[in-house]
Amino acid sequence: MAKPPYETEREQLRRRFLSDGDAAGALAERSRQAERIVREAWSEHLAPAFPSGLCLAAVGGFGRRELFPHSDVDILLVSAQPLESSGALAAFVGSLWDQGLRASHAVRTPAECCRLDPQRPESGVSLLDRRYLAGDPELYARLEGALARWLRAERLELARSLCRGARARHARFGNAVHQLEPDVKESPGGLRDLHLARWLERLEEAPAREPGSPDDPAPAWSLLSRLRCFLHYRAGRDDNRLSFEAQEELLEQDFAPWRDAGELMRDYYRSAREAWRRALGRLEAWEGRGSPLWIQFRAWRARVSNAEFSAARALVWVKAPAQFERDPEALWRLFEFTGRHGLPLARETERRVEALLPGLRTAWSRGEPLWPPLARILALPRASQALRAMHQTGVLKALLPEWGEADCLPIRDYHHRYTVDEHTLRSLEALEELPCAADPLRRRLAGLLEEAGDPTALRLALLFHDLGKARALEEHTPHSVKMAAAALGRIQAPGEVIEHVGRLIERHLDLSRLMHTRDPEDPATARRLAERGETLERLRELTLLTYADSSAVHPGGLSAWRGEQLWRLYLAGVRQLTRELETERLPRLAAHPPPLAAFLEGLPARYLRTHSEKAAEADLRLCRRALERGVAVELEPRESYWSVRLAAHDRPGLAAALAGALTAFGLNILRAEAYSNRQGMALESFAFEDPHRALELNPSEVERLKALLERAALGRTDVARLLANRPPPGRPSRRARVEPAVSFDSEASPAATLIEIVAEDRPGLLYELAQTLTAAGCNLEVLLADTRGHRALDVFYVTAEGRKLTPARQAALREKLLAACRPPTAP
């Protein structure tokens, strides 16, 4: 059977498009073909039956003359009176379908057209793109008049309905423009967003023309429509998903100018970003209208607003834009505001920041130390939001040019859903969302995040972990490390931060690989983990890094099943690293000079993992001084805490005496480590806070503290008496309280018993615990104490009379330790 003429014409059109890629021509031609068929059908079936009182209009894409190859042909029959079912109408619609036209028709009176159906808001929207085709011209003129009046009266309601629909559509796609297999019509930044911007513009009282429509084709419309046209022809139906396979097929077309899929997709993302921004600008403008003045005023004066920035409609606005020119620091304060409150920038604010970029690039190319403001942002609770705002405005690329290489970078991988930049920002968000998680696994990981403390290095590692994919997709990690070092070095980040970040990036795939290839219960896996994780602190960070990285691959990236695997692996690593604190002692290392090798012999292997050779040499000098004088102390201020290192001949109760002395001085211990070497020298280090800034404000206090620590180390001061004079500490709020837990493990080491204690932290806790152990006749072989928030995590390896603790001794000690964990009651 011969094909209907329309089918033949459609086939010719398809061939022409696939050879020249001219979407505008193809859409206009298809619209002309459809229009001719519809007019012919009208003349044959409806015109004789309705010489007046009925007219025909094209609406939607057909109305815009933007008819994609397999889109429905939307037509509106306007009837002066409600129309009963009619044989002529059925014949009209039937003939359209017989011609191969997928007609979607509606019959309404002018009054019905001027009504917004909350269940079908798209019917009102489609009328924005209408044009007369045939029939009673007076009736159509009446419709135009009625619609103009209705749109004037209801434009706010219609715009709100459009905004709600658009936000819901964006949310369906995770608000992500940068998807690896996007829907070129519906995804954020798709063609629908260009239409949305146009509709919202037309609802303005005095619309300002913007490019981006078929009347004024912009690059975004041109590329998006070309892609959609191709996808329709490729699938033979209304399919708009630019899948990996479709991308490959597109590259084979004669009209395709792209060398590879990466180039094609980067072109797509540029267009989608343009469409997305245009739509957001319109959405934000309309969403702010229509509310009573006092609501707007209240939003302006919202609690989080300050003198420079306001938070209104969950967006950040600049109160005095000229401020950016007067004060360059204002830009950093804007991003800090965003990172503190977790609010995105309004499109208007983005535009103001974008205008500053040329000046910023020039200023920043002079090698200014840009680390301090970035460090401030990275320490904020919602740093990811600030980094996203910096990325969207181009500031992040200007600050860290290496980041620009990840901009819109696609990954050809069926597991990944987003480009490298989007994946990276989502990984940062995944980490920040952990504290709000409700499921048990994420609660446990949230605990790790709390324990990890300062998130700066972890966030930087996430920011740079995949940048190397811009240079080598397979073995990207070494490139990521180099790019991080170059970028952070340029902004003058501290060397230890660069090294820390580099280590994390270098090992960011370790846990994922082990999860897939090793048995978490196998001791060899635990040894491998310990070897790669090196310390408990780093293993914790690598676990969080793996969690964030996996979670950002796609929305279900880290299923409960995979999360459990990760947790089991983490536990295996923790057990091994805790065991190694006591069992893995350094031998005499031939690689080091003899004095250093003799000093290191017998210290836990952890020592060399947490100390550089330079730091070890400094400790050796400390030990030499201690050999001469019995004790040596070094005290130095760090960025947010003080550090003290002390060497002395090991003796029972040494760690307790030092912890007590620090507490008696009014200092809060944050971390502590204590171990001894083969020569019997104890090396103790404490990090502590000085809440009253006594050391900073009174230099003489530094010497007084050193003297006190020396006396305590030599047993020449009664620490218990000093502590008795301190006022009892206050308790944290109920929500921050921690139930104490004490666990014993005599299998962890061949020679000592491991005791792990979790308790609510308070000044003097470490002293109380160490003193309890000393009083019970225990010798502290190793001590590792850490404090996060109100939680203290203390690990002791102890012996009694040179042996492990017996079960009876453990039972007695448990009660005493639990009692020591409980805060003293106020007198």
Partner: protein, 112 residues
């Protein structure tokens, strides 16, 4: 035709896939599952908190193969998933009445 269901340790998945690929078996369905046989669950203690792990993570591989190849496939899974420890998993072999490829309605072994 036989359906072969193998419940294996997650960390053995890549090895099993490679072994199957080595004998020309590419089609399979892999599901993340939880369960236990004799291995049972266990208790874990972390930071003084006790966690009961009842159902352990496992991977289920399902494939339908011509009857003549079923033994060979089972042998490949056995060899590649074996560690000798409790928890290695199980293999089930079931009869399959019919297979139909939805795309073109191929039936029987032609649909595999």
């Amino acid at each position: 035709m036989k359906k072969i269901e193998a419940i294996i340790q997650p960390f053995k998945l890549e090895e099993v896939k490679e072994a199957l690929k080595g004998i020309g078996i590419d089609g399979m369905t892999v599901t993340e599952v939880r369960g236990h046989g004799r291995q049972k669950g266990h208790r874990e203690i972390y930071r003084g908190q006790e966690y009961q792990v009842d159902l352990l993570p496992k991977v289920k591989i399902e494939m339908v193969v011509p009857e003549a190849r079923a033994d060979e496939v089972v042998r490949a899974v056995l060899a590649s998933a074996h560690t000798g420890k409790i928890g290695d998993g199980k293999i089930f072999v079931l009869e399959v009445a019919e297979a139909i490829r939805i795309r073109n309605q191929d039936r029987g072994e032609a649909a595999l």
